[in-house]
Subunit: 736 residues, 2 copies
């Protein structure tokens, strides 16, 4: 591996951007995610460790959220009595009152998922040390977190006191979730345990400090602490490790006992061997999930960065959790699961880490009861998935926004009317099946989802005159709420019912028992299937015959036209510039909607002429207020051969988190944009599809790209594919 | 050209870094340089336009400095009465009290030397405009500066007032240089003229505003102004140009008259054609001076960025000026000319723009009188160039520093004792001669410098016992002042005298008249030449026979050893961390010194064993407190085949300004580091040398570099050279 395109550095120190780096340098292992706060603390920082599946609904809050775990990263030192810190101001470097930071560099090594910080620090005494912090969250043993602190005396022979602690006084932006907090501090070990207030989760955390000198423990109600004092020689070095284990009642009946046993085991193994196992696990991950782009280093780094963030959030060993919109890297969207997972984050996993993809789909299977509740509560049949989902599987979309600048709250309609999520999940299941050939999953689990959500749509459609309609919908473009006959929703519903009918045929042939069971359980009567056929035949798809283009929804073109391309440069969407009220009544589109349909269904949407007309209509009306938008636009533009647009949108997508071009990276990584970037490359630029039982590529690469190499699993087989420009390699792809 | 590696962007807006961008986005054309201040102004910004050769010594200042010219960039607008500004805070975007910036992007297009800024701005009225500022400083007609302001109504139909002005109330960080300031404002034109207070320079500036609507002029003692009011239609656009001409009494007897005539001419030509001529001139520049690196985009951008800054400071038409240490991009070092020019900035110009290199050498030729004054004043013969040089050619190094944190000033000895500058100039002349074959220059001008500076050294050396010594010197490593027997200085003196003797032989053969003239004028008697031969034979070169390495100067290894590599990461050198007093008495080295000698003289310094010993001794003792250091280290490490060190030092060098890794970019571009980077690539990695009358390369490229392509002129012939790794191309280079 060429290491230089595998890391991202902060150098020199950028204190004003610490919340940006706290997100982009986050660590994780698919069990938990942990933000890159500073070990010693910094005013205004927002340390967070989020563990998949552990939600709590705190009193007074509208909805449950992923719970911030006690901060296990606490680790610092004093140098001749001066506490280490990151303040660079000193009147006199030689006599620095209160100490001074002389140098700083922090690097995320994506190849090995290691966060490393080096600092130069001078104490008030004049004693100067080089301090190196390393930490990783083991991918090989997901309950283990490891930290290493190396201190080098570079001037003087300072006395160093090491302090390690766990901080249980944590909140989610001020909201407390833990009760029954208990701590211990004994010998070289500290522990914290507790229980979430409303939900039934218990957790236990145990940390040990491994020092060449004696370790002392100090009890504290919420911040148990370990210390160790080291007298450094001139030019001397000391290395101290802190190991931490986390368990929850989701993994163990006795989380604290398990954490204590694990920390005992981890201590015996030691930092070096833990790190070795961790890096070996990452080598496996990258062998399958890396994409190599020759000819565009910015794209290369962005793809690794986004895939890194998908991988650290992807549950390897748990089929009862899914990935929230902001992964596990921040409090944004409270850890809720949206369609982002199925249509954006899942595809790269389906193709490169199919076992993890299966876990994520099982999360939905296990939440069919919640989806059935929602359908029933809304007066429909079948399964209607919630727009926002947590552990319970019930709808958890808040109904009202946080207060706006003028103090009012905005009604949020997505939980009521953004119903396409059910079809998005069905799409992900069909995609998983086609790529993996995992018929066992399909028969036992997948089919039930696809069919019961089809049942929902059959009950949801409205016959108006001689056609079927869908009113009061929200499509992907959330600027337009409660609209009628979204071409995206209507067309995807048709697709969904078609798939369901084909799936029933297939089941009857290949799994007749299950076909019978499902027919009975879900009520797949001949009358219902006939109804589906009728819906397919008579669904209304708004189309402008004169202009030969789709109409995003009824009345779209009657609204105010806004010249969106003029609203650049900006950070974020046009929405806040227009105001909610006006945006709703304008043609400004938040994100790929008709264009999303073209990504998902390709040629099925219409002729090339219609596709181009759609592009030229909707692209200049879209403000990409959603981070989900640019990658899908890049994908579709590449397929249409509109390479300037494709490159522009790709670069926009690639920089969403790295350049913070939405302005909100502090709240967490844009998970969907991350997964979308991979799709823009593989499905968009490389044109990978399944064709008559084999893989086909159809390269439309940016001019300056020389090649793209990626790996996919197809029908259980690992395939490495290199794509180049058609010239010189007319086939466009070589499989191996 | 692949445009995407030709630009640097600021996006989103980074107000806290505005002084960084003010430097790195500077424009220039070799006649003047102009910082990238905002047209409308911003608190704390430091607009500066510096014109080559125009120095002034203000009352109370220790030394003269390049004079800040009136700020010609003033150009802004009001939107429905709200002044345009860069503040992004507004409680309510829809009713923004005082207006609000909605979006921002600024790009330096290095291929065409164009600075472009786009902004979205909403006025208090709600009227919203997109504003595009462009400006360039014409390379085709160096007296002309052009600005374009395009305003697009994107919401509402606002009334826009355009304001253009020249601001004559400018200072150099508070120091005023102008007297007799006069302004005019009439019709569509404003002018400023004035005279420097101490020195004899006069200047004249004239600006015109070209608007589709009436232009009004408003007189003001120091800020004459032009305005034009435009009522925009909904979705309407207006384009306004401001053209400015600058002359000084260095170019014209009547600077104001010339500026007025030029602005008349430029207005007739118009912005578009001015821009066309400008970009054509830049295409010529880049055709010769671009270096294409395949396989390292960061290096590619850095090389273009550094060469851009060399080119914008390089006088095309003036052989009486030279380039200061901070080019024309900031007030640092007051525009003084150091050895930075001859050994760092000149070589890329000598090889790629030989006519400009000749101008820079002529600057030194014309200042031989000053060098002779200095020799005489110090009791020596011949020519002793000043360490810091301005227009006069007299020594202008200040004797005391600005106050330190403790209030004391430090005595600066470089003007007294950093005498190697004379040899550095001789080196640059010999290099120019060998590469260009410009014997006319050599006979008429170059020889006199090389020989008269040799005369200086002959008078400067001290016979002590049976050897010659040089005491009270400062070598490139300025942390060690007034030391004895710098191996760099002593060895370069030997080289210098050798060159002088050979040059006399050559002159006698090829230009006997000039040989006679110079022999007489400079007193090149047989006795003097014998003395030189004796110096060459008996010069003391400190050498550690046991360790087989050079000793930087007498007593170097007796001083305190500091583990410099431990002092990382840091911004800047170790010097401020040690304090002046201790640094002087330690083995910490500021910059390449023995290593610089190895760069300049290569194999002549010693065996490969000695060279490696020198490297391993001095590299870990060097803190690169000078920006001149890393590129030279990269060059030498590459030649020694130490590729890890070479790459590390190259990256350090490449990022000095782009990453601000010295922490002082606000004061101006590091000109020497910029020129050094090109040398690290061409002389270091590519190993370009003249060998038996032809060019030879000896590639030692970083692993990930695929090829390097560059152009040089050799003996008047343009040669494009591509270098690859020796494998597969054992010759290493192909000339064409």
């Amino acid at each position: 591996m060429q290491k230089r395109l595998w890391s991202i550095s902060e150098y020199p120190f950028q204190p004003e951007r610490h919340l940006y780096y706290e997100t982009i340098f986050a660590l994780g292992n698919g069990y938990l995610g942990s933000r890159a706060n500073f070990e010693e603390g910094l005013e205004g920082q927002t340390p967070a460790t989020l563990v998949h599946g552990v939600y709590n609904h705190a009193p007074g809050m509208l909805v449950p959220e992923l719970v911030n775990f006690p901060n296990w990263t606490g680790l610092t030192l004093t140098v001749d009595g001066t506490p280490f810190h990151l303040r660079t101001k000193a009147l006199d470097l030689l006599k620095p009152t209160g100490g001074v930071l002389l140098g700083y560099k922090r690097t995320l090594h994506m190849d090995v998922a290691l966060l490393r910080r080096e600092a130069l620090f001078r104490a008030e005494s004049g004693g100067t040390v080089k301090v190196i912090f390393e930490r990783f969250v083991s991918l090989a043993d997901v309950h283990v977190m490891a930290q290493r602190l190396k201190v080098i005396a570079i001037d003087g022979a300072p006395r160093v006191e090491i302090l390690a602690w766990i901080d249980a006084e944590v909140t989610n932006n001020g909201v407390s979730h833990w009760t029954n907090l208990q701590t211990t501090a004994e010998a070289d070990q500290i522990t914290v345990s507790g229980k979430t207030g409303q939900s039934p989760y218990r957790m236990g955390i145990a940390s040990r400090l491994i020092s060449p000198q004696a370790v002392n423990a100090a009890s504290h109600a919420t911040q148990p602490r370990l210390t160790s004092v080291i007298q450094l020689d001139k030019d001397g070095t000391v290395t101290i490790d802190k190991l931490t284990a986390i368990y929850t009642s989701r993994d163990s009946d006795d989380p604290l006992g398990s954490a204590q046993a694990k920390i005992q085991e981890a201590t015996a193994i030691g930092y070096d061997k833990l790190y070795q196992a961790h890096t070996a696990a990452w080598a496996d991950h990258w062998r399958d999930s890396d994409v190599i782009i020759e000819g565009d280093e910015q794209a290369q780094i962005a793809l690794r960065f986004t895939m890194y963030h998908v991988l650290i959030a992807a549950p390897q060993h748990d089929d009862d959790v899914s990935i929230g919109a902001k992964t596990l890297s921040g409090f944004g969207y409270k850890g809720h699961v949206f369609w982002d997972t199925e249509l954006f984050i899942l595809p790269p996993l389906t193709l490169t880490q199919p076992e993890i993809a299966r876990n994520l789909l099982m999360y939905r299977y296990k939440r069919l009861p919640g989806a059935r509740h929602k359908a029933q509560a809304n007066g429909y049949e079948g399964a209607m998935y919630p727009w926002e989902s947590t552990d319970t599987g019930e709808e958890t979309t808040p109904q009202w926004s946080d207060p706006q600048p003028d103090g009012t709250r905005i009604r949020i309609w997505t939980g009521d009317n953004e119903q396409h999520i059910s079809t998005d999940i069905a799409y992900a299941i069909m995609q998983y099946w086609h790529w993996t050939g995992d018929t066992e999953f399909m028969i036992r689990y997948g089919a039930e989802i696809v069919l019961d959500t089809a049942v929902f749509w059959g009950s949801r459609v409205e016959l108006k005159g001689d056609r079927y309609e869908l009113t009061m919908q929200i499509g992907p473009d959330e600027y337009h709420e409660n609209i009628n006959n979204s071409v995206f929703v209507n067309r995807m519903t048709v697709w969904h019912l078609e798939q369901a009918l084909q799936l029933i045929d297939w089941l009857q042939q290949h799994a007749p028992d299950q076909a019978r069971t499902l027919t009975e359980q879900l009520g797949l009567t001949p009358a219902r299937l006939d109804h589906w056929r009728d819906v397919i035949a008579r669904m209304y798809l708004p189309f402008d015959a004169e202009q030969q283009r789709h109409i995003q929804f009824d009345g779209f073109f009657e609204m105010e036209y806004i010249p969106v391309p003029h609203y650049e440069p900006r950070v974020g969407g046009v929405w806040p510039m227009l105001g909610h009220h006006r945006a709703l009544q304008s043609q400004v589109i938040k994100q790929a909607d008709v264009v999303m349909l073209m990504a998902l269904l390709g040629d099925q949407v219409g002729s090339r002429e219609v596709m181009l007309n759609n592009w030229h209509t909707y692209y200049p009306r879209t403000d990409h207020g959603s981070s989900l938008s640019p990658a899908i636009h890049a994908w579709v533009a590449a397929r249409l051969g509109l390479m300037d647009d494709a490159e522009y949108m790709f670069e926009h997508a690639a920089m969403i988190d790295l350049q913070d071009n939405k302005g909100n990276v502090r709240d967490g990584i844009h998970g969907a944009a991350s997964g979308g970037l991979w799709q823009a490359v593989v499905f968009g630029f490389c044109g990978l599809t399944i064709d008559h039982g084999d893989l086909k590529t159809d390269p439309k690469l940016p001019d300056h790209w020389k090649s793209v190499t990626f790996t996919v699993y197809y029908q259980g087989q690992r395939r490495q594919i290199t794509v180049r420009h058609p010239v010189g390699n007319p086939v466009g792809a070589t499989g191996s």
